[in-house]
């Protein structure tokens, strides 16, 4: 499917409510017990992410955006409220391998070639070797690393390593992709390129993406919805819908619509800060 076709078949925003929820959080709370005082990392989070959404969680450090995503991935246990992933508990969703997770660092295994890093989840899931290699080839091509299958992680630049880790997360074709500041450590030029890459992948595949960032332009460029969060305690300030088209280009960042959404995000972030 080409990008243009994908954008035509994309569900219009008006019909959003008919799409099934992929992530549904109700009154979600997470309190860490520390030595001196309990720390509220997440406070009363209500959020519905529907199929095909690209949702960015944005906010300053310590606002719980990574924690929220780790709760969805069953890497942290909430202390209150409820959350479902594909209508199941996060644990069941994890056991069913419903999501792919891209971390802040590529977390490639250095002793495996790029191809074997991508096939790692497939090996664990018991896929046959021929199909594993086929998948690896397909997804490495998709992230533009076709010629690097036999290289080892240290032979690739940071941006290429992160792309390999995206291919790895997509290789088992989960319908939910969780990305935790995947481009945070990259320079702006590489970041632009990868943002463009990602938004095209999203348009092509129609998967659901949850994306953590603290860059406003990145969040606005990538997302269909932007969740603005605020720290101490971590909570949602505002959820901003973006009307930008699905097949967007980097030039979209110069348009009034883009600047308008960015402005609204900035205002929401400022409101959050005034509580400090």
């Amino acid at each position: 499917m080409t990008i243009a076709q994908a954008s035509r078949t994309a569900t219009p925003t008006a019909a959003a409510e008919t799409r099934p929820p992929v992530v549904d959080a109700r009154g979600l709370t997470l309190v860490y017990q520390t030595a001196d005082a309990p720390v509220t990392a997440l406070s009363d989070i209500n959020l519905t992410i529907r199929k095909g959404d690209f949702v960015s969680l944005i906010g300053p450090s310590g606002c719980g955006k990574t924690t929220l995503m780790r709760v969805v991935a069953d890497l942290e246990k909430p202390t209150g409220g409820s959350v479902t992933v594909n209508g199941k508990t996060p644990e069941q969703a994890r056991l069913d391998r419903s999501y792919g997770y891209v971390f802040q660092a590529p977390a490639l295994y250095p002793w495996r070639s790029i191809e074997r890093n991508v096939t790692l989840p497939l090996e664990i899931m018991g896929m046959a070797k021929a199909e594993r290699q086929d998948r690896a080839r397909r997804y490495l091509d998709l992230v533009g690393l076709g010629g690097f299958a036999r290289k080892f992680p240290w032979q690739l630049s940071g941006g290429m390593q992160q792309r390999a880790s995206i291919a790895r997360a997509m290789s088992f074709e989960p319908d939910l992709l969780l990305m935790d500041e995947p481009f945070g450590a990259l320079d702006e030029i590489t970041r632009d390129k990868l943002n463009l890459h990602l938004v095209r992948l999203w348009a092509q595949t129609g998967m659901t993406v949850v994306f953590v960032t603290h860059s406003i332009p990145e969040a606005v460029f990538l997302s269909s919805r932007i969740v603005v969060m605020s720290p101490r305690p971590g909570r949602i300030m505002e959820v901003i819908e973006s009307g930008l088209p699905r097949d967007r280009d980097l030039d979209v960042r110069e348009t009034p619509e883009f600047l308008d959404v960015a402005h609204r995000v900035r205002v929401a972030l400022r409101t959050g800060h005034s509580y400090d």
Binding site: A73, D74, L75, R94, L95, R97, Y99, G100, Y101, F103, Q104, A105, A107, Y109, P110, W111, R112, S113, L120, P121, E123, I124, M125, K151, F152, W154, Q155
Partner: protein, 306 residues
């Protein structure tokens, strides 16, 4: 002139390689060692050599004394060329299955070393796996493992040999046990560190795949620990050799480098002792070198890094 025969650039390249390589520094150290050794041989053997010259009755000079002190039959410290001659004689000029052949003794010691090394590595890895995966083992075993290495091997070796001998186990097994006892320790320590080396992110990744513990071990912990395993193996195999030699000392063993050292010291055959020592260090270099080669092969397999 030979220098003129080599073209200029090649000569410069050769001299640069010599200057940057390790050959020159090593040769310098060796030369200094030899000078010190010959001097020490004169210093230590001179009293004995002087007596011998006196007994002969003919007048002698300092030069005679020096020459004599480098050619004694049972010197306090044999000169390097004496050890060289003994090595040449006992390695090349005797049938390999003869008790007077150093190769025969070396082979006996080496087989005990390798058996002990294999046993020690297996035990070391198993202990490390247990310690990393079971909290109880971590807390209960670790202090004992460390304590085990504070017992002098010279004290425990005879007891092991005697007890096992009473049970009917002689020859290779007691020696392999003692060398395994020495060599498991670095493997355990290295592997515990190695198996715990994956960072939280790499472990979280396995969790997102809901990988079973077996997979976390086979696809993450084990491959991550291999880089820690090889330095441990190099220490372990050298220790295994020490263990095998020490185990040969108290047993009245008929064969092995340890037995050779012991008979040498019974009969004051210092040259024989030194030759056996050199053979032992040659074996150690060989063994460590073999581990190094295995490491290199693995590095190549992993694309240039461990």
């Amino acid at each position: 002139m030979t220098a003129a025969a080599i073209p200029g650039p090649a000569r410069r390249a050769l001299s640069r390689r010599l200057a940057q390589g390790r050959a020159v520094p090593l040769a310098v150290v060796l030369a200094v060692l030899l000078v010190v050794w010959y001097a020490a041989a004169v210093w230590l053997n001179a009293p004995q050599a002087g007596e011998q010259l006196d007994r002969a009755g003919t007048p002698w000079t300092t030069a005679d004394l020096v020459v004599r002190s480098w050619a004694m039959e049972r010197p306090v410290l044999p000169a390097p060329h004496q050890i060289g001659a003994e090595l040449y004689e006992s390695v090349l000029n005797r049938p390999i299955d003869s008790r007077r052949s150093l190769v025969y003794h070396a082979q006996v010691t080496l087989s005990a070393t390798l058996a002990g090394f294999g046993f020690g590595v297996a035990l070391g890895i198993l202990l490390a796996i247990g310690i990393v995966h079971l909290r109880t083992l971590d807390r209960s075993l670790m202090p004992w493992i460390i304590a085990s290495q504070t017992i002098p091997i010279l004290a425990i070796a005879p007891m092991v040999v005697v007890v096992l001998g009473n049970l009917g186990f002689t020859g290779l097994l007691p020696k392999a046990l003692i060398s395994g006892y020495l060599s498991f320790f670095p493997v355990t320590i290295g592997m515990v560190k190695g198996l715990r080396s994956p960072d939280p992110l790499q472990l979280d990744l396995m969790r997102t795949y809901s990988a079973r513990p077996m997979h976390v071990f086979a696809k993450l912990r084990w491959p991550a620990s291999v880089g820690f395993l090889f330095p441990s193996l190099k220490v372990a195999i050298a220790l295994a050799l020490v263990g095998a030699i020490v185990a040969e000392l108290p047993t009245g063993a008929q064969a092995g480098l340890g037995a050779r050292l012991l008979t040498g010291s019974y009969y004051g055959q210092t040259v024989q002792i030194w030759a056996a020592l050199f053979m032992a260090s040659f074996l150690a270099m060989l063994a460590v070198g073999a581990v190094g080669l295995a490491e290199r092969a693995l590095v190549r397999f992993r694309g240039g890094r461990l």
